[in-house]
């Protein structure tokens, strides 16, 4: 059976009497009682009386005072029918349905996070598909999950295409600020039999070693003496979601057009340098 007590006096009114094993204190202000209880000067098993109470009441049996003394935390919670918060009775099905909604909401968040992690691999797959459709074969693939390196060769013409892709936003929070931006290096290479030209390209590669990060539009030259290929390459920033939507669908027409335009520019530059 619940007991109703009259409201506590105002905090600045010296109207409370406190009973302890050592004797009676008061009249005291409510804020002094709270402070002295917190400091241990008044023991937790003390009792209180003020005008309107029919008898002394232990601190922990007076709900309003107990709430003040514990900063709103109930030291001895009021018993409730089920769970930490009193709830109207609900059926098993209703509880399962609500739990199911919590799980579904968590999956929505999980899937958004997965998309942020997967979108660069979706894009890499689209680059592979698009480049193969233009007549090239993948001959090298290296990936550590964040940095992806691809190399393709056109088997009849012996031309090669390189890609390096580094996804800059791998969490939903980063993607909200940056978008799913990736640093992309695209290279176009041709086999050159003239050793002098390759050596010249190697010297250019040495100079490009001083560039920490090429500005957009800067074409650098790189050479591979072992295979006899010289490459023109360019650094770009691409927003992956310009090509891959959040349903994992790729706009192959746009991707193919952008790759084609980049390769065309690099081919022209390379021919201008070595032919």
């Amino acid at each position: 059976m619940s007991v109703t007590f009259p409201p506590l006096p105002p905090p600045d009114a010296a109207a409370l009497y406190v009973g302890t094993p050592e004797g009676q204190l008061g009249p005291m202000r409510l804020d002094d009682v709270v402070r002295q209880h917190a400091s241990g000067q008044i023991p937790p098993d003390a009792a209180v009386w003020y005008d309107g109470l029919p008898q002394w009441v232990p601190f922990n049996e007076h709900p309003e005072l107990r709430s003040l003394l514990t900063g709103g935390r109930n030291s001895t919670p009021t018993p409730v029918a089920a769970g930490p918060v009193a709830q109207p009775a609900r059926s098993d099905d209703e509880l399962d349905r609500q739990f199911g909604e919590l799980i579904k909401g968590s999956w929505d968040y999980f899937n958004a996070n997965q998309f942020a992690h997967h979108v660069d691999e979706v894009f890499i797959g689209a680059v592979i598909t698009s480049t193969l459709d233009s007549g090239y074969s993948l001959i090298d693939l290296t990936s550590d999950g964040t940095n992806h390196y691809l190399r393709f060769q056109q088997m009849e013409e012996h031309t090669r295409i390189l890609y390096q892709l580094h996804h800059l936003a791998r969490s939903p929070a980063e993607a909200k600020v940056l978008g799913h931006v990736a640093s992309v290096t695209i290279g176009y290479g041709e086999r050159v039999s003239n050793l002098g030209r390759i050596w010249g390209a190697v010297k250019a590669e040495y100079k490009s070693g001083y560039l920490q990060s090429a500005e957009p539009g800067t074409v650098t030259i790189d050479a591979d003496l072992e295979s006899g290929y010289i490459y023109a390459q360019i650094d770009l920033f691409w927003n992956i979601t310009d090509y891959v939507d959040d349903h994992y669908q790729t706009d192959y027409a746009k991707l193919g057009a952008h790759i084609g335009a980049s390769i065309h520019a690099l081919r022209k530059y390379l021919h201008g340098r070595i032919r």
Binding site: I103, E121, L132, R151, Q164, G209, L211, Q233, Y248
Partner: protein, 175 residues
């Protein structure tokens, strides 16, 4: 800039790149069938790609692992071709939210720690929310690479047939 050429194996012979050529063809074949790549693990010894099944009524993910066995050198390539094992694993993911189902899953998970049944070359495994069906094939890489559209169609046929088989094995487990 650090040369990205250092990130590649500068192979002199295309036969050394045949597993990568096949991986490229697998990615394109899967893309044509509605499976988009979501993960790549690539090392000189082993290539693994995972794909998300966008419109499949049963499957959630497919995982394909290529492990080259022969044909890295000129002599073995000429004598026995370029053999590789292709492991294809299909995954059904059940988004379980019913406490009664969670209890049932826990019991079968526990049972599967000690038992992994093999059914006609397809291995079934059950881990938390996922059920896997896995099969391994020994293939000749040369049947599928550098053969133009004919090779691509042959690869699609082989992958489709295998995925259909795995899907049938898993259909009963899709909730």
């Amino acid at each position: 800039m650090i040369s990205i050429l250092n990130k590649f194996n500068n192979r002199a012979e295309i036969r050394e790149s045949k597993d990568e050529i096949l991986v490229g063809e697998i990615v394109r074949a899967m893309s044509r069938q509605g499976y988009v790549s979501v993960k790549f693990v690539a090392s000189p010894d082993l290539q693994r790609a995972s794909f998300k099944a966008l419109n499949d009524p049963v499957l959630t993910y497919l995982h394909i692992t290529l492990d080259r066995k022969t044909g890295g050198g000129a002599i073995s390539s000429a004598l026995i071709g370029a053999k590789a094992t292709l492991t294809i694993s299909a995954e059904v993911k059940n988004y379980i939210a019913d406490p009664d189902d969670l209890v049932a899953m826990y019991r079968t998970d526990l049972a599967n720690i000690f038992r992994m049944p093999v059914l006609g070359g397809v291995k079934l495994n059950h881990e938390l929310n996922s059920i896997f069906a896995t099969t391994t094939k020994l293939i000749e890489i040369n049947d599928y690479v550098l053969k133009g559209e004919a090779g691509a169609q042959r690869l699609i046929g082989m992958l489709d047939g295998t995925i259909d088989d795995l899907r049938d094995r898993l259909r009963a487990y899709k909730k």
